[in-house]
């Protein structure tokens, strides 16, 4: 990639060749710690965008330099890393924070220093921080995710739904939101239990659930606890429906439980635009057939930041903040690639970026307006996709 970039830059006419001060952007991903399984590809996706922009002559003739740091999936380490990006590397945007606690810790540094922050964290509270516009996220929040899950349950005809949830920031808001959606559709949330996910048995929680006699149980936990809960539900003779988050009910869970135990469980997950050209390009670049949503989002975040800088003609965090919605949504020409977008902007056209993760349209506080969801069901120990949309 580096050589290709150099060759292209040399071959290009001198006007196109990157000149002037380089534009400095920051990537802050969980390379180690709990997010370590996602961080490395998130970083690669961002690097890929920056390399392609530079290969195409930079933004308005200015090269893009990327500085990268590791959050260690720890707010304390994330704050120190962000200080380095802001104060030493002088970046105008920080992209790709993952854990909600890290994002919330880093966000004040960003808005105080007028640095634009893009994140994949899902916690509802993040966009409610007083960020003055210096923050957008590409991950759907709980409101949107649970809304779609509730609508899916209504489609399945579930009448009495019970929630078994691990204690997380989104456990309680999820339950409240699900109750609203179900009620609006004529069904009912008949109860819920929030448990400590590190327990080794959930008999009392399951007894409580079965006493309510539900026809659908929503398992809102993580893989280790949901594995135990499913096994115990099976042993208790529960025959109603089950639905879980795709990050919890995953291949690992299916491998560790007999097919009878997991049979029929539904999963819901925000899905990247798997059929889009942007997704296919990114999959090819990263050398993987299936991409996690965070890598797709990081690809789009880097693209959005570059396009916003080009649109504003200014690389400051404030300029990115003011321009980002002008290229992410609206009546402009649809583009799914950062280089195409830069060309159109250079030609004075309006654009509307839609990337590998989805439409990337933001509301006033920085939440995405819509995204694709993938619905699957476990059948004989394997996932079968029911629909994407």
């Amino acid at each position: 990639m580096g050589t290709a970039a150099a060759v292209t830059a040399l071959a290009a006419p001198s006007i196109v060749r990157a000149q002037g001060e380089p534009i400095r952007l920051g990537a802050l991903n969980p390379l180690t710690g709990a997010g370590g399984s996602y961080g490395p590809t998130m970083r690669k996706a961002i690097e890929g965008v920056v390399d392609r922009v530079n290969a195409a002559g930079g933004i308005n003739g200015r090269k893009v330099e990327l500085a990268g740091e590791d959050t260690q999936t720890n707010p304390d380490a994330a704050v120190r890393a962000a200080r380095k990006l802001i104060d030493v590397d002088k970046v105008s945007a920080i992209m790709g924070t993952w854990a909600s606690a890290c994002t919330t810790a880093v966000a004040p540094l960003c808005w105080e220093s007028k640095v634009f922050l893009t994140t994949v964290s899902g916690s509802d509270t993040i966009t409610k921080l007083p960020h003055q516009g210096y923050l957008v996220r590409t991950q759907p929040n709980t409101h949107l995710q649970i809304g779609r899950l509730g609508e899916f349950l209504l489609e399945l005809g579930s009448k009495k739904v019970f929630v078994l949830a691990a204690q997380t920031p989104f456990a309680l808001p999820s339950q409240e939101r699900l109750g609203e959606v179900l009620k609006a559709g004529g069904s009912e949330l008949i109860g819920g239990v929030i448990y400590d996910k590190d327990k080794t048995t959930f008999r009392s929680e399951i007894d409580q659930a079965l006493k309510a006699n539900p026809d659908m149980i929503y398992l809102n936990g993580y893989t280790p606890d949901v594995t135990i809960v499913m096994r115990e539900l099976y042993k208790a003779g529960y025959e109603g429906g089950k639905i879980g988050q795709a990050y919890a009910v995953n291949k690992k869970l299916l491998e560790s439980l007999p097919a009878d135990v997991t049979e029929g469980c539904y999963t819901v997950a925000p899905s990247p635009s798997v059929n889009s050209a942007a997704y296919k390009r990114l999959a090819e670049f990263l050398g993987k057939p299936d991409l996690d949503p965070y890598s797709c989002q990081c690809n789009d975040q880097a693209s959005l930041v570059c396009l916003a800088i080009a649109k504003a003609g200014d690389a400051s965090g404030t300029a990115i903040k003011d321009a980002v919605r002008k290229i992410s949504q609206g009546p402009g020409e649809k583009v799914d690639d950062v280089v195409d977008g830069l060309k159109l902007l250079a030609a004075g056209k309006d654009i509307n970026y839609e990337g590998a993760s989805g439409a990337c349209d933001f509301d006033d506080i920085g939440d995405i307006l819509t995204t694709n969801f993938r619905y699957e069901q476990v059948q004989k120990g394997a996932f079968k996709t029911l629909k994407v949309g």
Binding site: E69, R83, A107, P108, L109, P169
Partner: protein, 311 residues
Amino acid sequence: MENYIVAMLVFAGLYGLMALGLNVVWGMAGMINLGLVGFFAFGAYVSALLTKVLGLPIWFGVVAGAAGAAAAGMVVAMVTAKLRGDYLAIVTLGFSEVIRITASNEIWLTNGTDGISGIPGPLRGQVTPEAFNLIFLALVAVVVAIVVFLLQRVRHAPYGRVLRAIRDDDQVAAVAGKTVIRFKVEAFALGCAVIGLSGALYGHYTSYIAPDGFVPLITIYIVLALTAGGTGNNYGAVVGSVLVVFFMESTRFLTEVVPGLQAVQVAALREMLIGGALIVIMRLRPGGLLPERLPRIDLPESNLPQEKKAT
């Protein structure tokens, strides 16, 4: 760059306060406290809640945070009075996890895993971020200086001598007529007060605290800082903390110049360098950079007690 260095010095100062607190409990009185992040969190939450929710002044929150952590330390010390060595280590480690999990679950009070954001800081928002950093550095520097001064007084006082006696052999201290438990509880509370003070300041500096930030990793950083600096030596605690922050931060720049590495390899290399540097220090200076030197008291030759060498 200047702003970054200032910010890292603030972190070093806050870690230094924690190391000073640990030095009282472990270095002076010989009790292993692997729960310091719990007291750090306690101080941070007390001060954050008092200033953010009740709107009390910051200085009051900080003092209350230190006092609250001292009270918590006293309770833990009394509960664990009979425990020594590894057993005390496990109980204190458990205590810090209890604090973290309580903070995650008592949502009505602590806002759960979302944490508390928007904690006020002195003049935050009224001055530029750079000026705020400088003001806070000055504040932390003054606090560290005062704490070092006071703890040095404790160390040189007869009181410090009793703590050292208990550290080296509590039965001998008891035989000499010292109420060992009382001294242990007081030392534990004093150390925890300093750790809580650090936590309170930490919250006002970063403006955000959450249970995820109070993981045992921080405890390990501080134990490393104190060991590298010199257990038992107050100056060593501060020097060790500056050193740990220096290692953690300088490795960012070292790894940047290594060619041909992927981001994840850089991150791994950083952790290896930090670990390696600490091993080298401990190998070359087993007593830390500034080993404890016992205060010398000139006595007539015939009365000179047999001094036990500090390890």
